[in-house]
């Protein structure tokens, strides 16, 4: 019986000739990522060794990555102390892929991993972050786990008791209209599947639209696969994956893709044609409350946010800067831009996007998670509305349960910033 990409990867990593959905396996981990919550992982990791005569030692520090991004720079003594503890721990353990708070090599974990070539096709990647699904964009099997599970991975180098998920296949065809792209596609799919429609499943993306999509776009759709409940989203690796890893991530050596067998078993197949798709928007307070932008146009917006692990990459900033060039952010609306990494920040600076944002009146913030999860900056006032290119709009997500968050693409966000109300960038476009 043929295997899907996830099944092939899990079989290889578990040392088995083949696996199928429902099997329980113990895959070896190729990359284990944490962010500030490494503080909790350390706590649990040390507890594993309690009462044994063993020294706490990470199984393979070269396969562990720790990245500070959620609260950078630290917003409180508590966070700063946690970061200090993590910094000391990774130094003592010799963790290889550590990214501290820096303007050159820092950034959001889900951008740092791909841009440094840490993820390769066929890898098993685990992260203490639900959006670890992002890395399926490079043909890996990548999924989010909790801190205690990561402590177990640090100790043993494998994930225990993984049930091989069933895979659904999404075939995408058609050419996007102007100002419509990967974010609109994934919002549309989440709306169709609902927030739990892919629970415990893998979404494997196929079709000509995906084949011609950049890795940056693939990161968007895999990132948000978890918003439909998916364990992982995967774009099988291809020429574009190899190009990205070589040209943008500086990877040398062979890139070997893992592709599904022709007779792979899919639990469900979904066909999508994007050629008629209009810009989409997720309305408060669930990600699956998706509508065409036109149906909520005119809604007043106090804060626009462009950035995050979903849409803080160079092409996103290029799109937003293109719309904002020579224009101003509407009075009464504030616009926050946070590039996904220091590298992207530098590239955007060189291309003039940062200057465009500043001239327009936007506030350009340091790379990191910024306002996405409402921890330390860019909070909303009572009754305020935000329009954001991030990935979650749950009640209270941006720090205030008495506010509302809409989710959209960078094009919708930028066009709306100019008008101060939710705006369809396609108005007048062909």
């Amino acid at each position: 019986m043929g295997m899907t990409v996830a099944e092939k990867i899990l079989a290889r990593a578990s040392g088995l000739p083949s696996v199928k959905a429902g099997d329980v396996v113990e895959p070896k981990v190729d990359l284990a990522m944490s962010h500030e919550n490494a503080a909790l992982v350390i706590n649990q990791f040390l507890e594993v060794y309690q009462g044994t005569s063993l020294q706490p030692q990470i199984w393979d520090p070269s396969k562990v990555s720790v990245i500070f991004d959620h609260r950078v720079p630290a917003e409180s003594p508590k966070t700063a102390s946690n970061q200090k503890k993590v910094r000391e721990f990774v130094a003592a353990q010799g963790v290889g892929k550590f990214h501290d708070i820096r303007g050159d090599v820092g950034g959001i974990c889900h951008q740092i991993l791909p841009e440094n070539g840490y993820v390769r096709p066929g890898y098993v990647v685990v992260g203490t972050d639900s959006h670890t699904t992002s890395h399926g964009a490079l043909g890996a099997f990548a999924f989010g786990i909790g801190a205690t599970e990561m402590a177990s991975v640090w100790a043993l180098g494998a994930v225990l008791n993984v049930e091989v998920p069933a895979t659904m296949k999404v075939n995408v065809k058609g050419k996007f209209k102007k100002f419509v792209g990967p974010k609109d596609l994934i919002l549309h799919l989440i709306g169709k599947l609902t927030a739990q429609g892919a629970n415990y499943k893998v979404i494997e993306f196929h079709g000509p639209t995906i084949r011609s999509m950049s890795t940056s776009g693939r990161l968007v759709i895999c990132n948000m696969s978890v918003e439909a409940g998916a364990t992982a989203g995967i774009v099988p690796a291809d020429k574009e994956t190899a190009r990205y890893l070589r040209e943008e991530a500086g990877v040398k050596g062979k890139v070997t893709p893992v592709i599904p067998d022709k007779d792979a078993v899919y639990e469900r197949i979904i066909e999508i044609d994007v050629s008629k798709l209009e810009p989409q928007i997720a309305c408060p307070h669930t990600v699956d409350n998706v509508k065409p932008v036109a149906s909520v146009k005119g809604t007043k917006v106090q804060q626009i946010v462009i950035g995050s692990c979903t849409n803080g990459r160079l092409d996103d900033l290029a799109m937003a800067a293109g719309i904002l060039k020579g224009k101003k952010v509407s009075q009464g609306t504030r616009m926050l831009v946070f590039p996904a990494s220091g590298r992207i920040y530098a590239q955007a600076l060189a291309k003039g996007y940062i200057g465009t944002f500043m001239k327009a009146g936007a506030v350009v913030m340091n790379p990191g998670c910024g306002p996405c999860l409402g921890i330390h900056e860019g909070a909303l006032g009572d009754g305020e509305t935000a329009l954001s290119t991030t990935n979650r709009n749950f009640k209270g997500r941006m720090g205030n349960p008495n506010s509302q968050v809409f989710l959209c693409s960078p094009a919708v966000a930028a066009a709306s910033a100019v008008k101060g109300v939710i705006t369809n960038p396609r108005k007048g476009a062909k």
Binding site: N37, I145, Q196, G399
Partner: protein, 166 residues
């Protein structure tokens, strides 16, 4: 017997269970104070111990969706609550199993606030209505972690067994 102290809707996210702004608090000993922090009434009842240990939170479908933050589990475990829901989001359920939070998957459950539930082998009996609902058994591999008392002791055992030094 356990009383349903609150009934919640579908898709209760980890942002509702444990708001992101308290994420700098990580230790299981400190997280319980922020359980459902934005549902201020319920939070204060939990904090003032008006809700007895072993009470039931009745969730809807996809309980615990969203972030992987383990605080969403340790905060509920700290109050020794039982979470009954027709379905859970994957990471939340796994975190619950790993930390020993009592999570019960009961796809057809019908109950209201104030109802007393009895947990039997494979079934929940709603004492208020007399109706019985099947509990979905956990996969064996997950049950093994629960039987070991959580993922930490489970991992410890494996580590000691496989370590050349031991």
């Amino acid at each position: 017997m356990a009383k349903v102290v609150i009934k919640l809707g579908d898709d209760i996210s980890t942002d509702v269970i444990y708001p992101g702004r308290y994420m700098a608090t990580v230790l299981p000993s400190e997280t319980p104070q922020y359980a459902f922090a934005d549902m201020t009434d319920f939070n204060s009842k939990l904090k003032s111990k008006q809700i007895p240990a072993g009470s039931v939170i009745l969730g809807g479908r996809n309980f615990g969706c969203g972030s992987s933050r383990e605080q969403a589990v340790s905060t509920l475990k700290g109050h020794d609550l039982i979470i009954v829901a027709p379905g859970f989001a994957r990471i939340f359920l796994q975190n619950g199993i790993n930390l020993g939070l009592r999570t019960v998957v009961c796809p057809t459950i019908e109950a209201s606030e104030g109802d007393d539930l009895e947990f039997t082998e494979g079934e929940i009996v709603n004492k208020a209505t007399g109706k019985r609902f099947a509990i979905e058994p956990l996969p064996k591999a997950r049950q093994a972690i629960i039987d070991a008392g959580g993922l930490i002791p489970y991992t410890r055992k494996r580590l000691v067994a496989t370590s050349p030094a031991a």
